[in-house]
């Protein structure tokens, strides 16, 4: 039994040591402290890490990735793309890139507060950061060089206004990711531009459910004559749903894909709000390269808007080819 007792003692000792370490070691980070002393990044090959909040296999983020990689190839800069939809995990990926001492960092900020300590850590380590897609308001405060993206609210507003110009009277806005703040901002914007908007919650991972719920909504309320979806796949489901019940509602959507392009051509989709996310992948690589080689800062650090570009029947023919290529 002696081994038993010594085992217990060593466990107690270990626990005590841990407690002591916990009591004396850490200091709460001062939340107000911005960037501290600037430590220059290690010299070496210039690498850029792109860390987005998109989930793997997402068509939208695939175009961003293509943009970043194309720019990297064109400029001779190695680009690594990683993503995680969970804000905490995304923060850890940023820490990871900082630990690797990358030459530049591109981050999308769906949940700005969650990635703030990590981004500030990167800035402190002397790594230039460009934020993309979402997080425009917080970008400069966190120490990023600039922000590249579209304002979700403005994009939604334009979509709402365009529907109104088309003479529609009742708008349904379809949210496909319950916890996504950008989608809620789009619908808020659409409500502003249109006057008002009803919301419908669907689950993008289940297309059958998406279609059935949109069908149910337009069936129970025949006065709905405009449906705004926030994703190209949902747009296709909405078109099917509207057709099934012979509703007069017309569909418009955020984001392009091949289906949306052909649907615009046939008139099933009225227009698409394209935020041209290829630029959100391409431009930051150019900006970071320019910053490193020439200390250029574009627009004095003000956000660079990549959209919205409204694609309708008049422009769809040219743009369709680029969608197929994976760059629109």
């Amino acid at each position: 039994m002696t081994s038993n007792r010594s085992g217990r003692l060593s466990l107690v000792a270990a626990a005590a040591a841990l407690l002591l370490a916990a009591c004396t070691g850490p200091a709460a980070e001062d939340p107000s402290s911005g960037s501290g002393q600037e430590v220059p990044a290690e010299t070496g090959p210039f690498r850029i890490a792109v860390i987005s909040h998109g989930t793997a296999g997402d068509a939208f983020w695939n175009v961003v990735k293509n943009g970043a990689e194309d720019a990297g190839r064109a400029l001779g800069v190695p680009v690594e793309y990683n993503s995680d939809g969970d804000p905490g995990n995304q923060a850890k990926l940023i820490d990871n890139a900082v630990a690797q001492r990358v030459g530049g960092l591109v981050v999308s900020m769906q949940n700005p507060e969650a990635v703030r300590p990590s981004i500030e850590g990167a800035v402190r380590a002397g790594i230039p950061v460009v934020t993309i897609n979402s997080g425009e308001e917080q970008s400069a405060a966190y120490g990023a060089l600039t922000h590249i993206g579209q304002s979700e609210g403005i994009a939604g507003e334009q979509a709402g206004r365009k529907f109104k110009e088309a003479g529609k009277t009742k708008l349904l806005c379809v949210i496909h990711e319950a916890g996504n703040i950008g989608q809620n901002q789009r619908c808020d914007g659409a409500a502003r531009g249109f006057g008002s908007a009803e919301r419908l919650q669907v689950d993008i991972s289940n297309p059958t459910d998406v279609q059935a719920r949109i069908r149910g909504a337009v069936q129970t309320d025949p006065s709905i004559d405009a449906v705004l979806t926030l994703n190209s796949q949902v747009a296709a489901n909405a078109v099917n749903a509207v057709k099934q019940v012979q509703s007069q509602a017309q569909v418009a959507t955020f984001d392009l894909n091949a289906d949306v392009v052909s649907a615009i051509k046939t008139g099933d989709v009225l227009f698409a709000v394209d935020q041209q996310q290829y630029e959100q992948g391409y431009l930051p690589i150019v900006f970071l390269k320019l910053y490193r080689d020439n200390r250029n800062v574009v627009g004095g650090g003000r956000p660079v808007l990549t959209g919205p570009d409204l694609v309708d029947k008049s422009t769809v023919d040219q743009i369709g080819a680029y969608v197929e290529r994976g760059t629109r």
């Binding site: 039994m1 070691g25 850490p26 200091a27 820490d95 507060e113 916890g179």
Partner: protein
């Protein structure tokens, strides 16, 4: 750890035999292999910042995996564990930012909430005799809906932020979300919570009467009831333990990231179970180890961040992770069979 927590009930004296019956030995070997692999293939894996990154990744997963391993040894599952980390964070954040409570008070309230849900899970499982898989699936869905519905009702959006401005943020942040600097590298304090939680759970499991009860109720509830083990109480306490761990991780997250999204945590419950299984827990209960689950989480953290350090194309990320986990489980399984032979 192997020498100090050695199980004296095993008769064999050969060191190899004594090692091989430990449930966590497979995970330990797996961890060594994964560690060695990434140390060689990835440049920055062993740098201070590198180690801090993968330990950080492993820590919150590890806290949950340890609690889930105790529950699994007790023969039950908790599918609501992942969402619980978000629910507790939301309760804390809403009370602190919307109702203006002191963060400590909000943390206390969310702790009460968590323990209540845990007790409810346990009580319902014991009362109805339904599989915990079904019961906790119900609470999982219910909590998911509550998270979204309440958050939207209270804040008008789907995320709660602004924790940094709440009363008591600094002191609670010190406890749950500060960093410890060792040799110029900042380590998250969640790593200490993880090690501490694992140590307490391991002690509880192999050194206390309650630990014996856990093994008993997981191995055979009928015969353990016959010899006077309080099956009901043990299982309810185990569900409350996973809820407690969920609260701890939720608190660490909300104070560190200062904001929480209503759909956070969904799907994590499977990762907890995976880590526990990699660590030597049986899906059928009655066998396993808390230390093993902590090591399982470590493997997960090392693999997940190591893949990024190795600069592999993230398209293949899940494939690598899956193969790595399968390999770990297979190694584990081989050892367990060997262990069972030794025991006979």
């Amino acid at each position: 750890m192997t020498t100090t927590t050695l199980d004296e009930r095993v008769g064999s004296t050969r060191l190899a035999d004594r090692l091989v019956v430990r449930p966590e030995i497979g995970a330990l070997l797996g961890a060594v292999v994964v560690f060695a692999f990434f140390s060689i293939t990835a440049d920055q894996f062993l740098s201070g910042d590198g180690v801090a990154t993968w330990l950080d990744d492993a820590s919150t997963l590890g806290i949950m995996a340890v609690a889930v391993s105790l529950l699994m040894i007790g023969g039950e599952f908790d599918l609501s564990a992942g969402v619980m980390t978000a629910s507790t964070a939301l309760v804390t954040a809403i009370l602190a930012t919307q109702a203006g409570w002191n963060v400590w008070l909000a943390l206390l309230a969310s702790l009460v909430f968590a323990l209540g849900v845990g007790a409810f899970n346990g009580w319902l499982v014991m009362r109805t005799g339904l599989p915990s898989f079904i019961v906790t699936l119900g609470t999982f869905l219910a909590l998911q809906g509550l998270n979204l519905g309440v958050t939207r009702l209270v804040t008008g959006t789907v995320q709660v932020s602004g924790m940094r401005a709440a009363d008591g943020y600094a002191s609670s942040g010190f406890v749950f979300a500060s960093t410890v600097e060792i040799g110029g590298t900042k380590f998250q304090i969640s790593i200490l919570w993880w090690i501490g939680f694992a140590a307490v759970a391991a002690w509880l499991l192999v050194r206390t009467r309650f630990g014996n009860w856990i093994f008993a109720v997981g191995g055979s509830p009928v015969s353990s009831r016959a010899v006077g083990v309080p099956v009901k109480r043990t299982k309810i306490l185990l569900f409350m333990t996973t809820a407690l761990a969920g609260w701890l991780v939720g608190s660490i997250n909300i104070l560190r990231f200062a904001s929480v999204q209503a759909n956070q945590g969904i799907g994590l419950e499977l990762q907890f179970i995976i880590a526990a299984v990699v660590g030597g827990c049986l899906l059928t209960g009655g066998f396993g180890s808390a230390i093993g689950a902590a090591i399982g989480a470590l493997i997960f953290g090392m693999a997940r961040q190591g893949i990024v350090f190795a600069r592999w194309d993230s398209d293949w990320f899940m494939l690598f992770l899956g193969v790595m986990l399968l390999a770990a489980v297979l190694v584990n399984n081989t050892f367990r069979r060997r262990a069972e032979r030794v025991r006979r």
